[in-house]
């Protein structure tokens, strides 16, 4: 191998403080550099290059940090939303049903239709909120929601978030009718909802419940506002919640 080419490679390693270079190799190279102008020039070149590449590191723009943290927080919300998803529909469904079927609301906020609607929207997280907005013709339920509101509601109605209970006897005949229409789907998807006609209807004393199916999940359409609310996972969950809320 050409001696100088090999030297140049050693120079590269020398600059990188390659620990595999032995003391002897090191010494020999230094000696060579002292007498060989060509190799000394290469050493100078590589050094200067190294310095120039690494120097004057710039400060990143402040927007980088902000954008990164914003991305992360959005990501975290998305994750929590899909975890909470199972629980948020309880309140949504319950609110709708409470309106329609007239169960005694547990929280006093559920007094008025508007109040209930707002509260419903308040406990739904980011992604479903967009759904509500799209679904409702007049966007009555597209109230801004955030996780703080969601947490408040969670505290107010902790029973709603109890673990799955064993299925109990249906509370009332109209519940049976309702449940008869539930598929007991396993996972809720983020519903893309519902300007479309209902897949089926359930008649109750207070009015008609419209059910739309979206991607394996079921959405209740609030008959007053026309908004599609977040969907059910299973019959057991519905029963548990309704029992807790005065079924």
């Amino acid at each position: 191998m050409n001696r100088h080419a090999y030297c140049q490679e050693l120079i590269s390693r020398l600059l990188d403080e390659d620990t595999t270079l032995t003391a002897e190799e090191n010494a020999a190279l230094q000696a060579h550099l002292a007498e060989c102008a060509d190799c000394a020039a290469v050493y100078a070149a590589f050094s200067a290059l190294s310095e120039a590449i690494g120097e004057d590191l710039e400060e990143p723009p402040a927007s980088l940090h902000e954008n990164v943290m914003a991305d992360i927080r959005r990501e975290e919300l998305r994750r929590r939303s899909s975890r909470r998803h199972r629980w948020t529909w309880f309140a949504a469904a319950a609110a709708a049903l409470a309106l329609v079927i007239g169960f005694a609301p547990r929280a006093s906020q559920m007094a008025s239709a508007n109040g209930a609607a707002k509260l419903t929207a308040g406990i739904v997280n980011a992604a479903p909120a967009e759904v509500l907005h799209d679904a409702a013709a007049g966007d009555r339920l597209a109230v801004a929601c955030d996780s703080a509101e969601a947490e408040e509601y969670e505290e107010a109605a902790p029973a709603a978030y109890a673990a799955e209970a064993a299925p109990a006897a249906p509370a009332a005949l109209r519940m049976d009718a309702l449940l008869a229409f539930l598929d007991g789907t396993e996972t809720a998807q983020e519903s893309e909802a519902a300007a479309s006609p209902a897949d089926y209807r359930i008649e109750t004393d207070e009015g008609v419940l419209e059910i739309v199916k979206r991607g394996g999940a079921l959405c209740y359409r609030d008959p007053h506002s026309g908004a599609a609310l977040v969907s059910a996972h299973s019959e057991e969950e519905l029963l548990t919640f309704l029992r807790e809320h005065g079924a």
Binding site: A37, A45, L57
Partner: protein, 203 residues
């Protein structure tokens, strides 16, 4: 930040502490940004890639086991994010460094003659723009490996780990990247005198 402190932060993030991740961003954003800047060649792309890399790191953090250094792990993400983007943008197919250097080990870097002594050469500095231009014309993998060494200061082993290469391969690729960059700068005419050998071209 010590390694232990860093690992503690990472564990907190893995448990869901978003704010803990902020400490990592603060610690690494300058290096990440500058790596991206030299890979991409412009500030806007650099910022975009840096942002994407941090998000990817956050999402991949559950899989980080701490057997490699966090910095090495992070820089791999950054340089790969940049590489992917460069390949998407580039119309020409990427040619690997090894294919292009057929003469390989035998070729030495030939520098023009002048009367300058090595000391004088060392004093001269390359202009930043010339180097940036030179980096930009390097093939992306050459750029990547050189930057990992020069900006991030990763050892040969760490670079090998990052890129999935043997240390020996890393050494020779870095050497070839340097040679190539030097050759470009010489041809570019920006540093005609800096690297010249002296007139006494002895054996």
């Amino acid at each position: 930040m010590t390694r232990e402190e860093e690992l503690a932060i990472i564990r907190r993030v893995q448990k869901g502490d978003v704010n803990a991740f902020e400490a990592l961003v603060r610690a690494y954003e300058k290096n990440v940004y500058n790596l991206a800047l030299r890979m991409m060649g412009n500030a806007q792309d650099a910022e975009d890639m840096a942002q994407e890399a941090f998000l990817k790191a956050y999402n991949s953090l559950p899989g980080f086991r701490g057997d490699s250094k966090f910095s090495v792990w992070l820089y791999r993400i950054v340089s790969n994010v940049c590489l992917d983007q460069l390949r998407k943008k580039s119309k020409r197919p990427t040619v690997s460094l090894s294919m292009e250097d057929e003469d390989g080990e035998e070729t030495q870097l030939d520098l023009p003659d002048t009367a300058q002594s090595p000391e004088e050469m060392l004093e001269k500095k390359l202009t930043r723009e010339a180097v940036r231009r030179g980096l930009a014309q390097l093939p992306e993998d050459a750029r990547q490996i050189l930057l990992l060494r020069e900006i991030q200061g990763l050892s040969y082993e760490e670079i090998g780990e990052t890129l999935g290469l043997e240390a020996g391969t890393v050494k020779s690729r870095i050497f070839r990247a340097r040679k190539r960059l030097c050759a470009f700068l010489l041809e570019d005419g920006n540093i005609p005198d800096s690297f010249a050998s002296s007139k006494q071209r002895g054996g």
